[in-house]
Amino acid sequence: MKNIPIEKIASATPDSVARHIRGLSDRSIAWIFVAPTIFLLLAINIFPLIWTVWLSFTNSRVNRPNRDVEWVGLRNYERILTDSDIWNTMQATAHFLIWTIVLQVLIGFMLAFLINKKFKGNDLWTTIIVFPMMLSPAVVGNFWTFLYQPQIGLFNYVIAFFTGADPASFSMIGDVHLAPWAIVIADTWMWTPFVMLICLAGLRSIPNSIYEAAECDRASKWRQFWTITIPMVLPFLMLAVLFRGIENFKMFDLVVQLTGGGPGNTTTLTSIDLKREAFEKWRTGYSSAYAVILFVTVFGLASIYVKALNKVKER
């Protein structure tokens, strides 16, 4: 028995007997391992999504559980897509999204490029730069509210120092023209370190031998930057844009803490507006349609972005 190879024994055993001995087939064992995950995914993701889509075609209000829920067809969608207030909210979100991504990618990449150079105190500076990202958005919102105070805020004094204007003459979070920029600055301050870390990972993944070969070919530093550094960091940059884009499309806590969506509706982003419709006005059907519109937009954008990312990686 000792000298018989194990494969020979296994193949000689009839399948039904083997199954009886082992108790469960490999397929069954695989299902047992995967089933809890699939169940959780269905319960937490898929079921609420399907339910939200169904609710979006009704006049449901969760604060009136005894009222009959009526099927209203596409009426919720029609009302949202002809509402000029929601259109303004979309524009505020676009302003926030575009400027935060542009600033975070530019500053994040520059910081990563500097931190990637070997110098004394490199680790200490990395820790200091990464610090804002570790804070809670509520803390950052509170902190920047103080910084933006016209009377005591440091931000106004810095601007006054450079421009000569009176610090109390403008209010970043009280002015309809400045408030959209106030939330952009606070978010950029908080999340630029995240983009920096991703870019740093990209920069550190470039082998030195490529730069050495370029030096041998007498390529200038500028040329090396555009033909080696940028193409090799590009997938990481695109990943950073994807993460920040999706996160900022859902931005809620920081802006609520900082401006509460005001003054007026100038900093009311879609997620804030959606929360008001769903949990302050209790228009569940209407807010579900709103959520579906946002979901399709983010899903569509993420799909084409992931496709572009794969193309860049294949190069």
Partner: protein, 62 residues
């Protein structure tokens, strides 16, 4: 250009994904542009068609 149309007619993934991507991008721009509310009204249907098309055509052969 003729290659693009030929591949469209032969139901190849590349050009169809391109059409779907353009529709999605167009829908998002229409949703967030500050120019005309009519464009905003038709933005969701454009994005939805693009997204559904993208899911379907990503199963087409290369």
């Amino acid at each position: 250009m003729s290659d693009f149309i030929n591949n469209l007619l032969r139901l190849r993934r590349g050009p169809w994904e391109m059409v779907a991507s353009v529709l999605i991008a167009l829908g998002v721009v229409m949703l967030m542009q500050p120019v005309a509310i009519t464009l905003y009204t038709y933005s969701f249907i454009t994005t939805l068609i693009g997204t559904v098309m993208f899911i379907i055509v990503s199963h087409f052969p290369e």
